[in-house]
């Protein structure tokens, strides 16, 4: 197995852990409302202290996503955003000196169509540090793992509330960079509170793995970020951010960036 010790994602989490800190992982839909804005938000978030971010690659049929993220994908595709254009944006952003660790959330439909070896190589070249392929479970990921490792990419795998205990440990063993722990059975979207089971389950998982664990799906406010970070290494916030971008997408870019920045700033407070 190729050593990922040079991987930005791995480094960020080990630095955070050494400092006793937690990660807030904001999710953005690439190209929503346009790629320039996505790039500007990424730059602003890094300035505010975000160390890891997730970038959703728009897809026509995202079955794991709720209405908010799905609508943002549909709008981005309608505006002509292609996965090639997303890679170019990331390359440009990285060339500008960006240092945060960036993970692509991408459907296997896109990866397969492009051919996995080609997609992974271009993603690594552009400046992605990891991949989350939500529709590529353990059984189907066998061919992809060595490819990702060879390109220095962390293949982040997901654990669901419905995943049986032994399988959780097996997924944890394969996941690189961090483990994406899904807090609720269902699709992405904001929720009022976290199930108590989640907190217990993450604690249990931590006993079996040293790989960082981040919790996502349904996290929408600073209180939930704080609760998650009691046990996990990080909290992933998606729909709550994407919804704000949708609400303010008609504002001038700098104002939209500021609105998103303020919201994420609030989410960062409990873990500062």
């Amino acid at each position: 197995m190729t050593d990922l010790s040079d991987n930005r994602l791995v480094k960020v989490f080990s630095e955070l852990r050494a400092a006793g800190k937690k990660a807030l992982v904001p999710f953005l839909t690439a190209g929503h409302p346009d790629l320039q804005t996505t790039e500007a938000i990424l730059i602003d978030l890094e300035r505010r202290g975000v160390r890891v971010a997730e970038l959703g690659i728009p897809f026509s049929d995202p079955i794991a996503d709720g209405p908010t993220i799905q609508a943002s994908y549909t709008e981005a595709l309608a505006a002509g955003v292609t996965s090639q254009a997303v890679l170019e944006m990331v390359r440009r952003w990285r060339a500008g000196g960006a240092g945060l660790a960036l993970v692509a959330m991408v459907s296997y439909s896109i990866v397969f169509r492009c051919r996995p070896e080609v997609y992974l190589r271009s993603a690594a070249d552009a400046g992605f540090d990891g991949l989350i392929i939500p529709d590529l479970p353990l059984e189907e990921a066998g061919n992809l793992e060595p490819l990702a490792a060879a390109d220095g990419l962390a293949n982040v795998m997901l654990i669901a509330p419905t995943t049986p205990p032994r399988r959780r440990v097996e997924i944890a063993r394969h996941s690189r960079g961090f483990i994406y722990f899904i807090s609720v059975a269902g699709i992405t979207g904001e929720r009022e509170r976290l199930p108590e089971d989640t907190i217990r389950a993450v604690g249990e998982l931590r006993r079996h793995t040293d790989t960082p664990v981040c919790v996502g799906f349904g996290i929408s406010n600073p209180q939930m970020v704080a609760a998650v970070c009691e046990v996990a290494d990080g909290a992933i916030v998606g729909s709550a951010i994407v919804r704000r971008i949708s609400q303010h997408k008609d504002l001038p870019t700098d104002q939209l960036v500021a609105k998103v920045g303020e919201f994420v700033g609030g989410l960062l407070e409990p873990i500062a």
Partner: protein, 404 residues
């Protein structure tokens, strides 16, 4: 056993096609479904109960009908129809929904969900849910709700809730997405009755097995009627469940030629048809790897067919395998040709086929005309056309206006 060749879905794969490309949240439900399905098929009691349901509820076996006047009209091979249109609820879909509803009961799930395009699978699911006392919700694109108002009404009469889907093209693919999303959140108490040989393993194999009663009966009936198997079997292919059901039990009978007919729509330009096998390329959609209509970056392409049941950008993975090994030939039939074939069958035999099945009729008639009178063509008449009458009336009216 001639059926064995079709039964080998190794690890959920047919050659390179199939698999289980779904979010982790669904993996344990699919594992449970696979376990229960295998156990059920090995259980004499379950098989007997399924047979009883097919007999007493679906009204099986369906007739094998010699289409004498159609044969005379064509002047070629002898044409037989496997009358799935005479099943309860009007199509082959009931075979699968009865099997899966029994499985849902066996798994202790109290609610079933389904996607539907033409509404035939939705109706068959609503019926099964009513018979077995299960709660039922059916996802249906609003474009299809418009085209298939009668079937919406039938589902609701039988106590199902029809959930309108506004995303994407508002047709079958989008209904599948929404049903999968529902299932992600409800998987503990809900079974998803997928209506075709598509989706993640074990669905393609399981649905094919539940539909194989068509081909097993047809094989026996053909031998009784003619003392031999047909030279050619023709079936329409959307997701491919009626075709898989009639092909699979005779796939090992190498002398039987098989043709699957996809929706050629308005033209063969991407977006104008739904011919995934003829014009698509390998890709991943709705949980399995198969032929898909998509753009260069893997985004699912828009599709079109006059028939809501064929209006789907993917196809079952076993068909992809049969195509690649050359066992089955896949071809297309346009909207206009399907409507002509529907009218032809109505006039010559007094049978109004579903628009889906009319695609098979058209190709069978074309091929039969080139064959010898001592040869036999078998068409899987997968459903009846009552549901399409409004749509057909409008199309015929438009034609008349154009001609005058």
């Amino acid at each position: 056993m001639p059926e064995e060749k079709a039964s080998q879905a190794r690890g959920g794969y047919f050659g390179p096609y199939g698999g289980r490309f779904v979010p982790e949240t669904l993996m344990s439900a699919l594992a449970q479904l696979e376990r229960e399905y295998r156990a059920a098929m090995a259980d004499e009691g379950f098989r007997a109960e399924f047979e009883r349901c097919l007999r007493e509820i679906a009204g099986r076996p369906s007739e094998l009908y010699f289409a004498r006047r159609l044969t005379e009209h064509v002047g070629g091979a002898r044409i037989y129809l496997k009358r799935e249109d005479m099943n309860h609820t009007g199509a082959h879909k009931i075979n699968n929904t009865l099997g899966q509803a029994l499985l849902a009961l066996r798994m202790g799930k109290e609610r079933v969900i389904a996607e539907t395009g033409a509404g035939q699978h939705g109706v068959a699911t609503a019926m099964a849910a009513a018979v077995f006392g299960l709660r039922c919700e059916v996802y249906m694109g609003t474009e299809d709700i418009r085209r298939q108002a009668l079937n919406v009404f039938r589902m609701e009469l039988m106590g199902a809730r029809v959930v309108p889907v506004e995303s994407g093209q508002r047709t079958l693919k989008d209904a599948c997405n929404e049903a999968l999303r529902d299932w992600m959140a409800s998987v503990e108490h809900t079974h998803y009755i997928i209506g075709s040989v598509v989706g993640p393993a074990p669905y393609p194999e399981m649905v094919r097995e539940f539909q194989s009663c068509i081909g097993r009966e047809a094989r026996r009936q053909m031998l009784e009627a003619e003392g031999r198997l047909p030279d050619l079997i023709v079936a329409c292919v959307g997701g491919g469940s009626n075709a898989a059901g009639i092909f699979a039990p005779m796939i090992a009978d190498e002398q039987v030629r098989m043709v699957g007919v996809e929706a050629g729509g308005r033209s063969m330009k991407l977006g104008d048809h739904a011919a995934s096998l003829v014009a698509g390329e390998p890709g991943v959609l709705h949980g399995s790897l198969s032929y898909v209509l998509q753009d260069d970056e893997g985004q699912t392409a828009p599709v079109h067919s006059v028939s809501a049941g064929l209006d789907y950008p993917g196809v079952g993975p076993e068909h992809a395998y049969w195509k690649d090994i050359g066992r089955v030939t896949y071809t297309t039939c346009t909207d206009e040709q399907a409507i002509d074939a529907l009218c032809l069958l109505a006039r010559t035999e007094g049978i109004i086929p579903a628009l889906e099945s009319a695609h098979a009729v058209r190709e069978a008639v074309r091929l039969a005309a080139e064959m010898e009178p001592d040869q036999i063509v078998l068409i899987n008449l997968s459903g009846r056309g009552d549901k399409d009458c409004n749509e057909i009336a409008e199309i015929l009216k438009r034609r008349e206006t154009k001609e005058s």
